[in-house]
Symmetry: C2
Subunit: 710 residues, 2 copies
């Protein structure tokens, strides 16, 4: 096990501000007026790093720690700058190592040597991003997509026939869903699987160039089989997209008859994965190779399915693959946490300019701009840790069968579609800000951030394009709205509310009425001190989602009666705002999770600091959308102005705790592997200061021309 005790070595201690009074100077009168002192706070709260660290690790803490221990081993880690071909082979070897160590079977059935542990499996998997995102994603392709498709879309025959070799990596495989011509709109893929009644076979065919399978991990080199998604056609009827197990290559690595492909070549990142293209020319597979849990074809070609509606069947099949989105949320959050650990550690040691003193240069993190750049991102990362753990608990409940109704599955998918975009975008923004905040040093591969950013870039468009996912969320919110107010008039609509508050966020039906509690809210929020009130933040955040969806629903109310093209045009004219509403919903989910986590925090000092972090997150969201609150009369101009002033105050308060807050993430040097976060900068600073101090003491420091003239 990795030691989770606070990693505050002597170096880090030294880097912490020694003058806590200096870091919280009195505010000038004008600012003070709008941001009253927080009298309830203990004078000098301290963070209990070890306990907070444990809380951040969440429900599967021990599994995460074991996986982190693995990720700390050099043989599983990325070698920066390794050529693509070698990197691909290295990652394949790392996958074999994971198999040898029994590290990848957790989600598979106990009958096949697994543990049927879905939440724990994802928790362990996410931590691999520390070692190399290519390792994480290639493992995800093999066991989370290829293997999981066989597991969730197949039945006993497929499990017994195919899973053992998939689990052992004897058969590396591709998940052949996306095509060059269709990514987000999977239902419209062109590949066909036509049943041949005479030979009891499916004929897999690629009808045109746009229907080539594309961007598939394991397709360019290593894959010897694939789960291929194709339009199932039997007796002249297209039953929609189904999955088929299709062998790809022989033991020598050559394509089987009728199969061809291309290498996708170099990518912006994740070059340890051999992404490629595949096409099929009348490739025949036995009838049994249809993964037939949700749709089967009898010998005579008769189609049957336990789900009557083709649309619902399609979404049910796709829904079984939600774990990809779950795991990206966790991995992206981990990457953001690593970036912040590196940048804040460095920002706590690095000095530049000496405005306040003739001899001492300022530590970067003492600059307001530096605090404003990094600390709000730290607050968001905290929110994501807590939201992700709840999300994973929900996922585990669905996949373990503990809470697995249709509603549960739909809720899970909506949460996934809301959280994955936010956290993957946040990871890119944070890696970039951390890179910029560490200047030229941040641009060197040896400091990790550029490589992580390159690898995580694709996280925002794969496993569901972020914008498309947010649109799905928005449609769900609109549907919930219309269900609840199907017969309501415009007046009722204006008061409608989305139910994503408190503990209902994860367990509710999607909508509930909160109108009475927020009635005339604009006039009840009487002073700026209310901004740090939990209820105020909740109401502001909730109200915005509700009002946005309500407004759009009102505008789209008559669209249903329009001809198809006109209805689509009306929807399109609201698309941008819909996606913004979905984002607001996701932000609210994160805020609620953070607030619930706060309720569970016991240590008073930690609770106080964490409350500031939560407030910074909540008020940061309100500041980001401040124009909306002003336009809609939720905040008066004076109060709105206080939001920014209070955020300035919060970052100043949090600054002395910044190192503790990143240390609590628990990444050891062998996880970070960034030279600038190793303490080397502090050594250099100390050496330079000692040099000048000695020269000054000895009287050998050359006199500055300027002072000589005086």
């Amino acid at each position: 096990m990795v030691d989770t005790a606070p990693r505050t070595t002597s170096k880090q201690q030294a880097a912490k501000p020694q003058r806590s009074a200096d870091t919280a100077p009195p505010k000038p009168a004008s600012t003070e007026a709008s941001a009253p002192a927080q009298s309830a706070a203990p004078a000098q709260p301290a963070v209990d790093v070890a306990t907070l660290g444990r809380q951040l690790l969440g429900t599967w803490a021990d599994i995460r720690l074991a996986s982190r221990e693995r990720a700390a081993r050099p043989e599983l880690q990325r070698i920066e700058g390794q050529p693509m071909a070698e990197h691909r082979e290295r990652v394949l070897g790392q996958l074999k190592l994971l198999v040898d160590e029994g590290a990848v079977h957790r989600a598979f059935p106990t009958s096949l040597g697994g543990f049927d542990d879905h939440g724990g499996n994802i928790a362990a998997f996410e931590e691999l991003v520390i070692a190399d995102p290519s390792l994480q994603i290639k493992a995800g392709v093999q066991w989370g997509l290829f293997g999981a498709a066989v597991l969730h879309l197949g039945t006993e025959y497929h499990h017994e026939t195919f899973l053992p070799d998939i689990m052992s990596l004897k058969v590396p495989g591709a998940f052949a869903m996306t095509e060059t011509g269709h990514g987000s709109d999977v239902a419209a893929i062109g590949t066909t699987a036509t049943y041949d009644e005479a030979k009891h076979q499916f004929v897999i065919n690629t009808p045109f160039r746009g229907a080539w399978k594309d961007y598939l991990g394991n397709a360019a080199v290593h894959g010897t089989a694939a789960v291929v998604f194709a339009q199932l056609i039997t007796k002249g009827v297209n039953h929609g997209v189904h999955a088929f197990y299709v062998p790809l290559r022989n033991t020598k690595g050559a394509f089987l008859k009728g199969i061809g492909g291309e290498d996708d070549g170099l990518k912006g990142g994740l070059n340890g994965i051999d992404n490629g293209r595949l096409h099929f020319t009348n490739v025949r597979v036995p009838r049994e190779n249809l993964l037939n849990r949700y749709g089967a074809v009898a010998e005579d070609g008769t189609y049957s399915s336990p789900i009557a509606s083709p649309g619902r069947r399609f979404f049910t099949m796709l829904g079984t693959l939600v774990q990809g989105r779950v795991s990206l949320d966790g991995a992206a959050t981990a990457a953001a946490a690593m970036a912040l650990t590196i940048a804040i550690t460095y920002g706590n040691q690095r000095r530049q300019f000496n405005a306040a003193s003739d001899t001492e240069e300022e530590v970067l993190l003492d600059y307001q701009r530096h605090q404003r750049r990094l600390l709000p991102k730290l607050a968001t990362t905290y929110a994501q840790f807590f939201a992700h753990d709840e999300f994973l608990v929900k996922f585990d409940a669905v996949f373990s069968g503990e809470a697995d109704t249709d509603d549960d599955r739909q809720d899970l998918e909506t949460i996934a579609a809301a959280l994955k975009p936010l956290s993957t975008w946040h990871a890119l923004e944070t890696l970039q800000e951390a890179r910029e905040a560490t200047g030229g040093a941040g641009f060197l591969a040896e400091n990790r951030m550029v490589g992580l950013r390159q690898d995580l870039d694709i996280y925002v468009t794969f496993e569901g394009d972020n914008n498309v996912l947010l649109q799905l969320v928005a449609k769900r919110l609109l549907t919930d709205f219309s269900k609840q107010f199907a017969k309501a008039d415009a007046g009722v609509m204006a008061r409608y509310v989305v139910a994503q508050t408190a503990d209902r966020a994860y367990h509710g039906t999607g909508l509930r009425s909160l109108a009475q509690t927020i009635a005339d809210f604009g006039s009840t929020a009487r002073s700026v001190s209310e901004l740090r009130d939990e209820r105020t933040q909740r109401e502001l955040l909730t109200d915005r989602v509700e009002a946005m969806i309500g407004e759009i629903a009102g505008r789209l109310r008559d669209a249903r009666r329009l001809p198809k093209a006109d209805a689509a045009a009306a929807f399109n004219r609201n698309q941008n705002e819909l996606i913004e509403a979905a984002r607001a919903h996701g932000e609210l989910l994160q805020w609620e999770a953070f607030t619930r986590a706060l309720a569970k925090t016991r240590d008073p000092g930690t609770k106080q600091v964490l409350t500031w972090v939560r407030d910074l997150f909540g008020l940061g969201l309100i500041e980001k959308h401040l124009a909306w609150y002003l336009i809609h009369g939720r905040l008066a101009p004076k109060r709105a102005q206080a939001v920014g002033a209070y955020i300035d105050r919060l970052v100043e308060r949090l600054r002395p705790h910044a190192q503790d807050l990143v240390d609590a993430f628990g990444y050891a040097p062998e996880h970070l592997r960034a030279k600038i976060a190793s303490g080397a900068e502090l050594e250099r600073q100390d050496e330079a200061r000692a040099y000048y101090a000695a020269q000054r003491a000895a009287g050998t420091l050359p006199v500055p021309e300027k002072s000589k003239k005086k």
Copy 2:
């Protein structure tokens, strides 16, 4: 010369919306109310692509076209995925090619075979980013930094002795300014150059690890000399940072005595450049190797300088190197333009989802969200093209001596510090948005965007960290303010204004009074239609800069009288807002330049479309800062809401012209080198649609299960 006629091939024509009526559908009643029809506009304006293209090329159009022609040649282009060592050698070879073709001497004195053409030199140099940013920046290191330092900081002896070999690349050199410990704060570097009166030599020394020179192009491998910046010490007095010509390596590539170094290794991008570290242990160079234009040491060790103030001398020396910032502004703008050309061309061909029809899928660029993601960035890119050309004219006037007062130089530096941050950040955001807007295809190296983004990443922190530059701008604005209102009371302050409007932006002194024209502006902006009025936009944008600076100046008014540490703390508490004010100033400069360019546009259709683009840029800025306008009473809530609605309207109006607007940038396929912008996507789409149309016509398309059940 590259042909600048419109590149609308048959493929691109086909990709343009065939149904212009469809792309401007009637607005729903609620939106219509707040965005009145623009009755003055011609019904169907058309863009004259060739003429607009010529306007975008700017003052040095022919030189740019010649440089683009060069950048279109494969031997000067990047090979994606080339290993670092090979890439470095390739780029060195490309530099030699540039020398052989006489392409790099434009800025050097006519006496040495140059042309003394400073603006033209930068224009040509910027276009090299098309071929490979590593080529651009390595050329910049050799001739724009190393060579330019000898040219601008040295005198006749240095020009005659060193420049010929620098120009011919016989001596590749490093620009050794930045140290591991000091980047932004150059004045505090640790390297010393102590004059030895006995031997008439300077002794260059690195006193501690933090004073190693770092991140220097040409330092790791190719550099055989360097211009080294060091504290000049003579007779026990430190005269501040000066530059010295220092040989580094012998002909075999080995370091000379006393010199050592390290390779910076792999970076996030620009890996065709051999960045590295250097350190000096009592390395002796002749007295004559001091580049002595602004500070000289006589044989006896007596220091003299034409500039008495050490501070002003330092900034004058640094100011001669402003061309780096100038050229990054242009290169970053070119990169953004390329990214948008790729993403918009693809977005005009790619189809996904068919909400509006049973058989036809929608073109991506018909989606509102897609328009909202790309078209505002296109508008900003246009603004940057126009602002950059004016900037370059100003630069040329200063460096040619045509308008070279202290004020001119200071204005130039302020403009550089304002524009370079905006355009380099914009390039990264645009490359990322374009990458995401093209999905998985955008992540492939073959489509250019990821590589360009990796290379341009460092543009935001080198040649002046963006945040530090903006702070310089803010300080200048504060200084101008305090000069003007030194004796004013708070009431006058509240009405003060910054002078960056109209043609005064580039030629004015920095501040002028506009108070009378904006008096009571809030109540005079009576309707939403005013938002598209040029004066309204100008007043809103100008007023914000003025008011922000005025507010901050008011808060800092008494800080001068405080002890140093307290004054610094007071400044620090306003740092974030100061930087935002500087950004607003830069945005205003861009808007003014766009508006001046618009006045020069003659073709009515082009002028109409370009007016919409300018309005989209201006209103986009106002939307971004909408909370500020609301809080400060400049816009009433209803009017503020109209800003977003009008932007929706503008992107819809501009959508049919999007292809023309990117075609006008004039990049040919050999510049873009992106497969997805080659027309391949349109071919795939056409093939797929033809396939289904033929099946439908023949009655062989399998019946969907859903329709069968009806």
